[in-house]
């Protein structure tokens, strides 16, 4: 099908590109897989010391806006005030807005109880683990260039997938059923191919949607110049973006109950949808606009954003059905990437496929390291450093993530999580690099680090189980979100142990 030269070049590209991006890709995939349970991790973190239950009688949203105005912040007319409405998973109101504090404009957040509207002592920044994992996933916590960098890494990952597919295309079926357990080198390669081919449809989808999310700006700019001669308003129309609505304050005030009336109007109009967010532009002014996000669980186009005039409930933008092909494609990409359309089972499958990519990275790196060690012309110190770096950025990342979970569960009352989680993450993988450099035995080091990661991943579920069973904190056993997170952590621990066992056999032989 391909000439020997082409196959050699593709293999060369597959190896080197895979190796170069493996560290960043490992962070992206481990953090991304866990981010499928982002909302649950928030609950796992937040409700450790907090009893939650959605009250049957809830205060209306107007009550919360009243309370917010009572706090005395100077909110500009066109600035957005976001209200996260109560749900089973988060049974209270959370409000975010931009305000001037100490001469600086910054975001402020408050939480209000859903039953009586009292102010809750829940600082969003203290429950930082889920946000940190998500940010690591999409911009590696690198300011300014991180987002685009992840886009380019994802594009290269896409190329690595295609080169891998082309290399094995001729024998894709025969190699798929071949798993040689007696030869260590072949066993890793066979495992790499087996998991690579099985997970291909998912990895392809992750790569395509990931490139779309992170490099959208580059190709939209190019498309805007080439197709619309630089007229970006036309481009926005083609992409189905709603026109920017300019409105000015009228100076007249509406009663706050207008918000409650608008929400009941929306609920009547869209009875099968859940109201999740409300954004107010102009608070109680007669000219104020209200934007809502409606959720239709189980649908491929799960979220819909609609805008209304607060005064007479006229719908100003948004449509429940995505008529625009570009908008519909983008919504489909989002649903596919987040895996929200197929229920809990689908989401768990997507999580497992994310972990399958981690397995591909681990096996790929190990194959390369062992091959490289046989090259006698290679400088020993250079090889030792590269080997330590590669191991730290593969199995070390698993330890870093596990450490963040342990720190969050056991030290959240003593430290501000927003300040310490990122340093803990980086210090952990630096220690694993030091460990790999001192030991200088790639496979053995990887086995030890995987066992370590597995034990760390098991800490929090074991603690929750112990506390729940002894009825110290019965909620830890009763809450679905906490179960999901502890199950995913246990799955990660089992995966680490299985890979460690698999490598350890090769080491002893």
């Amino acid at each position: 099908m391909f000439s020997k030269d082409t196959l050699k070049n593709l293999t060369h590209a597959h190896t080197w590109l895979g190796l170069i991006i493996s560290g960043a890709l490992m962070i992206i995939f481990v953090c991304g897989s866990l981010s499928f349970y982002r909302a649950e991790i928030h609950q796992w973190d937040r409700f450790h010391n907090f009893h939650k239950a959605l009250p049957t009688e809830q205060i209306p949203v107007s009550h919360v806006i009243d309370k917010l105005q009572g706090l005395g912040y100077d909110i500009r007319f066109n600035d957005r005030v976001s209200i996260d409405l109560p749900s089973e998973n988060k049974p209270f109101y959370t409000v975010f807005f931009l305000a001037t504090q100490d001469g600086k404009r910054q975001y402020v957040n408050y939480s209000f109880a859903a039953d009586d509207g009292r102010l809750l002592d829940l600082d969003r920044n203290q429950f930082f683990l889920a946000d940190m994992l998500y940010r690591m996933h999409y911009h590696l916590y690198i300011p300014k260039i991180g987002f685009e960098l992840v886009g380019i890494i994802t594009l290269i990952f896409f190329v690595v997938l295609l080169t891998g597919l082309l290399i094995h295309l001729k024998k894709i079926i025969s190699h798929y059923y071949q798993y040689r357990i007696h030869k260590a080198k072949d066993k890793y390669l066979d495992g790499h191919i087996l998991i690579g081919v099985t997970a291909f449809p998912y990895t392809f989808m992750y790569a395509l949607t990931g490139v779309y999310f992170n490099l959208a700006l580059i190709f939209q700019a190019g498309f805007g110049f080439a197709a619309f001669n630089g007229n970006f308003i036309e481009l926005d129309k083609a992409l189905g973006k709603p026109d920017e609505i300019q409105h000015t304050p009228s100076g007249l005030t509406l009663p706050m109950q207008q918000y409650d009336a608008l929400l009941s109007h929306i609920k009547k109009r869209y009875p099968t949808h859940q109201l999740t967010y409300l954004f107010s532009y102009g608070m109680a002014d007669k000219a104020a606009h209200v934007e809502v996000i409606l959720r239709q669980p189980g649908s491929l186009h799960e979220y819909h954003r609609l805008r209304f005039a607060l005064d007479d409930f006229t719908q100003l933008s948004g449509d429940i059905i995505k008529h625009n092909p570009a908008l519909a494609s983008a919504a489909t990409f989002e649903a596919l990437h987040y895996g929200t359309f197929g229920g809990d089972l689908m989401r768990f499958l997507m999580f497992l496929m994310g972990l399958a990519c981690c397995y591909l990275i681990l096996t790929g790196n190990l194959i390369w390291l062992e091959k490289r060690a046989k090259n006698r012309q290679q400088s020993k110190v250079g090889l030792r450093f590269v080997s330590a770096m590669t191991i730290a950025l593969s199995s070390g990342i698993l330890i870093s993530v596990a450490m963040c979970f342990v720190v969050t569960r056991f030290l959240s009352e003593h430290f501000a999580m927003q300040n310490i989680l990122v340093p803990v993450f980086h210090l952990s993988w630096l220690f694993t690099m030091l460990h790999a450099f001192v030991k200088n035995a790639p496979r053995k080091v990887m086995v030890q680090q995987l066992i370590m990661a597995s034990l760390l991943f098991l800490f929090a579920p074991a603690y929750d189980l112990f506390n729940g069973m002894l009825a110290i904190q019965p909620l830890l056993l009763a809450d679905k979100a906490i179960w999901w997170v502890n199950s995913t952590l246990t799955a990660m621990a089992i995966l680490c142990l299985l890979i460690a066992r698999h490598y350890n056999k090769g080491t002893t032989k």
Partner: protein
Amino acid sequence: MWHKTFAGFICGLITITLLPSSLVHFYSDLSAISAAFFMTVGLTGWACIMTYCYGASSSKAAWLRGLYCIAPAMLIYLTAFFT
């Protein structure tokens, strides 16, 4: 390797930008479909062109492969732009 990367990245981006843009110039009513086409098929095409350039045996051959992709796309775009 660097040459192959740049050849694939630049030539791929130009090709996938010019082809759907030509469609917009030919039929302005199809701009929304063309944007959707750009997102779905175009991005996959970008990765395919990069892969095609990595398959080349030298840097020069990689740029040449990139040019093979750009040339017809450019020709179609210029035709669409001036008609």
